[in-house]
């Protein structure tokens, strides 16, 4: 099974600053999908951004962008102009193109935004 590693259990950032959350994964597949999910305290998990492995261009959604390094199997999330509402647990996830619909989640990074 694929493994997803988030090596930063906790991160903090000053409001309006930029923070990068790290994610690495282990796979022998060439086609797959990567995701970042956000789970605010006691609230619903929501999709932040997705990246298709066949795309070289890094995905961007407003203040959120990724740095996808396929050869290094790295998929980091950059949050620019951090806001208080960005405080949450962030999960990186992997989905295979071929071997079923299962998502493999990392252990999460808890992000604190300091006013």
């Amino acid at each position: 099974a694929q493994t997803v590693t988030q090596s930063q259990p906790e991160m903090s950032v000053q409001e309006a600053e930029t923070v990068t959350l790290s994610c690495t994964y282990d796979t022998s597949e060439s086609d797959y999908y990567l995701f970042w999910y956000k789970q605010p305290p006691s609230r619903q998990m929501i999709l932040v951004i997705r990246q298709e492995a066949y795309k070289q261009q890094n995905a961007t959604e407003n203040r959120f962008s990724v740095n996808f390094q396929k050869a290094a199997k790295s998929f980091s999330l950059k949050i620019s102009d951090s806001q208080l509402g960005d405080a949450a647990m962030y999960f990186c996830a992997y989905r295979s193109e071929y071997t079923g619909n299962q998502f493999y989640f990392g252990t999460g990074t808890s992000l604190t935004v300091i006013p």
Binding site: Y37, I46, L47, G100, N101, F103, F105, G108
Partner: protein, 114 residues
């Protein structure tokens, strides 16, 4: 995206009893998933539920303990049977929209077993 609701949102149950959690989606979906999440931890997949077929369980989860129903394309239930305090957790359902490869999550059911 998809709008997903779960009932109940939380419950406190006694050891040895069972609880059925409902998951309702606002559109038809083929794939539904049930996860367990300990507070502050990652998600563990319990099973995948396709409409019209038996649910597929992950290692460590069995149908007798976590029976699942999937009567139509917008609804599923997960039952936690013969509960023990170790079953205290958050249970999440999610759906995958066909051809999007994205999963959307319900708000979760927080279960406490005493």
């Amino acid at each position: 995206s998809a709008v997903i609701s779960q009932k109940p949102s939380r419950d406190i149950c006694q050891r040895g009893t069972s609880l059925t959690i409902q998951c309702q989606v606002d559109s038809q979906v083929t794939m539904m998933f049930w996860y367990r999440q300990q507070p502050g931890q990652s998600l563990t997949l319990i099973a995948t539920a396709n409409q019209g077929s038996e649910a597929t369980y992950e290692s460590g989860f069995v149908i007798d303990k976590f029976p699942i129903s999937r009567p139509n394309l917008t609804f599923s239930t997960l039952t936690v049977s013969n509960m023990s305090p170790e079953d205290s957790s958050i249970y999440l359902c999610s759906v995958e929209k066909t051809s999007s490869y994205e999963q959307y999550f319900g708000p979760g059911t927080r279960l406490t077993v005493t």
